[in-house]
Subunit: 338 residues, 4 copies
Amino acid sequence: MGYIHFDQTKEFDLILLGRVAVDFNPVDYYMPLSESTTFKKYLGGSPGNIAVGMARLGKKIGFLGKVSDDQFGDFVTDYFNKEGIDTSHLTKCKKGEKIGLTFTEILSETESSILMYRDGIADLQLDVADIDEEYIQKSKAILISGTALAQSPSREAALKALALAKKNNVVVIFDIDYRPYNWKSQDEIGIYYSIVAKQSDVILGSREEFDLTEQLIEQGRTDEQTAKYFHSIGSKIVVIKHGKDGSTAYTNDGNNYSIKPFPVKLLKSFGGGDGYASAFLYGLFEGLEIIDCLELGSASAAMLVASHACSKDMPTVEALKGFITDSKKQYGEMIARV
Amino acid sequence: MGYIHFDQTKEFDLILLGRVAVDFNPVDYYMPLSESTTFKKYLGGSPGNIAVGMARLGKKIGFLGKVSDDQFGDFVTDYFNKEGIDTSHLTKCKKGEKIGLTFTEILSETESSILMYRDGIADLQLDVADIDEEYIQKSKAILISGTALAQSPSREAALKALALAKKNNVVVIFDIDYRPYNWKSQDEIGIYYSIVAKQSDVILGSREEFDLTEQLIEQGRTDEQTAKYFHSIGSKIVVIKHGKDGSTAYTNDGNNYSIKPFPVKLLKSFGGGDGYASAFLYGLFEGLEIIDCLELGSASAAMLVASHACSKDMPTVEALKGFITDSKKQYGEMIARV
Amino acid sequence: MGYIHFDQTKEFDLILLGRVAVDFNPVDYYMPLSESTTFKKYLGGSPGNIAVGMARLGKKIGFLGKVSDDQFGDFVTDYFNKEGIDTSHLTKCKKGEKIGLTFTEILSETESSILMYRDGIADLQLDVADIDEEYIQKSKAILISGTALAQSPSREAALKALALAKKNNVVVIFDIDYRPYNWKSQDEIGIYYSIVAKQSDVILGSREEFDLTEQLIEQGRTDEQTAKYFHSIGSKIVVIKHGKDGSTAYTNDGNNYSIKPFPVKLLKSFGGGDGYASAFLYGLFEGLEIIDCLELGSASAAMLVASHACSKDMPTVEALKGFITDSKKQYGEMIARV
Amino acid sequence: MGYIHFDQTKEFDLILLGRVAVDFNPVDYYMPLSESTTFKKYLGGSPGNIAVGMARLGKKIGFLGKVSDDQFGDFVTDYFNKEGIDTSHLTKCKKGEKIGLTFTEILSETESSILMYRDGIADLQLDVADIDEEYIQKSKAILISGTALAQSPSREAALKALALAKKNNVVVIFDIDYRPYNWKSQDEIGIYYSIVAKQSDVILGSREEFDLTEQLIEQGRTDEQTAKYFHSIGSKIVVIKHGKDGSTAYTNDGNNYSIKPFPVKLLKSFGGGDGYASAFLYGLFEGLEIIDCLELGSASAAMLVASHACSKDMPTVEALKGFITDSKKQYGEMIARV
């Protein structure tokens, strides 16, 4: 604990920057998407889901983003408002850009794919003019989603937010959140991920995502080498995820803490990462021990992959703690701990 | 009868050129789209619906178009195949363009709106290279949808198909099908609609659509003046629609025939036009009297606005005739006739 | 004579629509362009040159076009003003588009090539909103240059001007002026050339240009077949050029008139066509016999290929007639006539 | 001396990345560009000029850039080859992009402006795929021109070259070279200039250019504060230019060295900066004292503003030293020194 200092005088715990979208998940799943006939509509997009997750856990959240000027833009804005998320800086696109859509194909408990509508899409229209220094100053931390870096003008908006956060001593959290969409080349990914990662206090990513981030710095690093490198240039906590093999948080005092997944009956194989991020960060803001942050993250991940939605099924603190208590009762105290 | 000569030696009755898309109609309707939570997925797009409608009525149909190279492209292609529509010239986009989407908002029986995803969309990628003279030669007629003219390269593909149809004495049917999307200016609409209308044997449109078509020729024409003008330059049948006030077919022998809507319990206010077009054209291909073609069209329109889908609920000949018989029994023989 | 009726009450003889550019011709020529070190700057672009040519011959000319909002746009506008050409409808681009540039490589008397800057260029920004019906009404005739059809929005601007000329009984002259730049496909060329050619009173082009125009109508036509076809749908005069083998004007009374080039010491191999067009059209407006129009055209062409510039060296009536008189004295009365 | 360590085992002294263009300077100057009639063609573009300048001074130079696949691309490549500059990584654009053009308006000795053709231009097409790690490894240093950062894909190519230079311990020189063209916003300039400046060993710029670079870090810094900041994060030499008031080099040992312009009869007011940069860097590579590097730079700047061209008139070592000797004879030893 105490790896990150959060300024308690700030109005917001966290302002997230990036993608908020609409998910259409099939009601008649475990079949190809082309054959599914009926779909449920949910708020989606990784930072959008994390925002909802953290708001459910009681944190004061703002969202810096762009939505469409239509009924789907209204849906997302209304949804955030109902969850108590500040939408004062969630503005509407003026040139008819549409909000991103994700149609999910759930072939089985462990196989899924997505069909995304992401060309000329609202979230990537976030512009440097939308980045308000006063707003960023009001928050303990900002979270930059790596997908925001995939295209201009959103890319420069994210880099401006990063610069202003650094200038104003606002904690920077980088969720690499790699999606192949919108990027033009592999090199481009390495260039922009590394620019942001090098200036972040907390970095969250899978091994593959850290490999992408470090491709032009040094290739083939181990998790330990990666963590050591980022700690050496200022990062406080580096979280490296290995899917069903669990994840490890490396802290800049040389320690590391590992967690495994909770056992759960899977409905689908996506959505876990957003649950993980929101509950882990909730723990950080609460000043919990790192291992307890990880346990919360892992529990929320488990709850999400057992649910149909990503945003709508984010747990409250009570539900999250209840799930952990129940799992420990059933499987033993150390069920997720290594 | 006899206004149009169809070459009976041809393999296809009709090849349609233009838009095929995916519709998402809310299951929880009569509320704003932002609040609807569950959606049914259907094949959509006006020429796509007409293709299905005419195939259901037993005509031999081909479709000249572009779909996405993803599960939704598969869905549409599979759907056409199941309906017996030739998809040999329905090809997949190679640069990741997505198929158009239409989310419908059904506020009440008579109020609806649509939220369209139509930027950089598959159907508008149809290219001159996709237009195969041999394929067009195989059909009695081609139908060009006005939406295909809204953007390049689809615009030039449609104009090439038109040129090749004229060169090969294939009947040209123009369904104006005005949608404000994708057009850059009012003048542009007038320019391209008039180029196609002037060379068409059959033109179908509302009064507003004919006004758009004639804006650079002469403004403020009556239906009679419009019909007379197009007959004077070669058109055989001009159908002008006036919504709930019915529609009139003007033939190039100076006659005209009018029809009214059949009484029906509305579920939604869209889809009727595609039912109308498919059944009216079916009648033409069968060589029926114009007034009987119109009655079939009006009946199909009524059946569609009473249904949830546009494509999926297209009637068979049996169902269509059954509906007419039932309506006449209930309301009298002349119920739709003027 | 009398093939075309010009309304003598009109303010302008001719309004030209299309390209006006800046030419840079090397002073140190007969070497590769890469090695030329010094260049003369001239007003250029086929319709721009024809405008200057006809103004020099005393005709009242207007120009419907777009230039850059910079010193080169000023140069062209000032140049037109000095020549007495109306520039009330020659407007400046608002988004920084630059005027087209042509760097000419003069390898020998008969070999040349051009390096064009034509991407995102001013003349192709002409928009339907720039086409003023009242302006077109004021002219006896409009000339549409085929290059204006190569891209939107200029393409639609030209088609709107065509529609308004037809609506207002203004004579339409189509100078096919084929340039491979900017066109996306061969089919596209055939589509748009034929739309304009079919509605034109006078068509000027080389055999290759007519082949492009007729490619989707019928391939492989002879000059006689081409002329007959266009006469049958309303054209009055069809001029087909065969370079150094001369050219022939086909009139809609079944006659034809041929002319050969005047002997001349070549400086360069381009610019002749614009001299030809301006002097031929001058003759038409003067009501001269077709063979005399052709002789004027051929003489002007000869004078241009013997000069360094295209626009700047356009002859006056006196100079043109002097050249013809001198040539006839030297080579005989029938020197250019067949 | 000794602020920068250059690895003497390397094949190249310097590889420059960025803009090479063609300049057209009027022969009939001291009048508006619209009225100038005759132009001389020169190789241009700031990094192109510096490359020629340093080659003339005997340094081994390479150029990483893109040119057009036409006679102007040939001209530039041939010119570099004749100057002994390595063009193995100066490649031709494949999609018809043209090389940038600069038409200069020389209104008087001290007033000038430029008309640039910079849309969709060759140098900005430099792509990450063009950046070859082995090539960068072969050089003592790379110079990144700030104009290369103005647009993608050149922006990412420059950032990749920067990353690979850092990875391989190649000295990084950043010539801010601010041009308003191509940039989308003021913030964007600050974002990308600062990313490169923060990682550079040598930074060259005017006060205005450093203000742009630091706008999102801290505004309103003095030259001393600017130098101190960049030294604190690793820069060795920061050169800040104040036009006719001279310039100062700040070294990371806390020293600074100032120079004034040499007196000279001006022909034009541009080109001096490229002379300055090439001769100053020549001095650095020679291991001269900083004040001597500055004197060379100032002398070359003076020679350039007295000449018609920028590239073609770059001096040799002999000419440069001769100019300094002559100036000192005429005006005194300390003529340029403060």
